[in-house]
Symmetry: C2
Subunit: 141 residues, 2 copies
C-alpha cells in the first residue's frame, strides 16, 4: 500500500511542476489545491527540501520550488525519499541491504528469488521515468 506521505508528496511535486513559472509556492496553496492537511504536507515538503528535490524561501513571498527541471527528477529518487526502500525485503535492497535473521541462506531462499524479480520490475519503472513523465495534461474544452 502506498503511504499518504508518498501520495501527497507526489501530488505536491506534480503541482509545482505543472506551474508555468517556477517561483516559490506557499504550502497553504498546495495543501488547499490538493486536499492535503497543511501541517502534514509541511513535513513532507521539508523532507523533500532536505534531500535536494525542493528549494525553499522564507518570509513574505516565500514558499517551495523545484530545484531541477521536472525532466531531471527521477522517480527512483523521489520514491526512495518518500516511500523508503524500493525492495520489499531488505535482503534484496540495493541501498538498504540487510540480511534476514531467520533465513539461513539467501541463495536457496525462494522469497529472495521472487522479490529480486519484483524489485527489478519496479526499478525498471522508476528509473525510466521522471516527474515530467507523470504529468498529465488536463483536458481543455
Amino acid at each position: 500500500m502506498l503511504s499518504k506521505k508518498t501520495k501527497y508528496g507526489l501530488k505536491a511535486l506534480t503541482y509545482l511542476a505543472s506551474r508555468s513559472e517556477n517561483c516559490p509556492v506557499q504550502i497553504s496553496e498546495i495543501a488547499k489545491h490538493e486536499n492535503i492537511s497543511q501541517k502534514f504536507l509541511e513535513s513532507i515538503l521539508l523532507s523533500l527540501r532536505k534531500t535536494g528535490i525542493l528549494g525553499s524561501k522564507k518570509g513574505k513571498g516565500g514558499g517551495y520550488y523545484l530545484i531541477k527541471k521536472p525532466a531531471d527528477i527521477l522517480m527512483t529518487d523521489v520514491m526512495r525519499i518518500l516511500e523508503g526502500p524500493i525492495a520489499m525485503v531488505p535482503c534484496v535492497s540495493l541501498n538498504f541491504y540487510e540480511k534476514c535473521d531467520d533465513c539461513p541462506d539467501e541463495a536457496t531462499c525462494s522469497v529472495n528469488k521472487l522479490m529480486l524479480m519484483v524489485r527489478d520490475a519496479n526499478l525498471g519503472v522508476y528509473r525510466s521515468h521522471t516527474l515530467a513523465d507523470i504529468l498529465v495534461q488536463s483536458k481543455e474544452a
Copy 2:
C-alpha cells in the same frame, strides 16, 4: 514492505513443493524447518486452504499438502491471498477497485498514472511465474 505473513506463507509453500512426496505435512514440521511461530503459521496455512491453494487432513498422520502441482500455482493468486491487492492504490486495482475520495479526476492524476505502470510491472512478474519457478535447488556437494 513484505509482511511476515506473506514471507512465511511463501516459505511454507516452497517447503511443501520441495518435498518429493505430496503427502500431508504437519504444521509443526514446517514451522520448525522454516523458523516460524507455529500458531502464526497455523492461521496462514488456514487461509491458504480456504482459498484453494492447500488441502488438509485432520487427525493422526494429518497435515497440509498442495492441491495443485507447483507449476500450476500462479504467484498472482498466492500474492493476492497473502499480501492483498497487488496495486499500491485502490484506484488502479483490477480486483479491488475503489475511487480515491480526495482525487477529483483519475484521468489527470499523476499518482494514478505512475501507480498504473508499477502495477503492470508487478503483475508482469507475478503472472509469469509459478511456485515451481521460485524453487531454488539447494547446492549439493
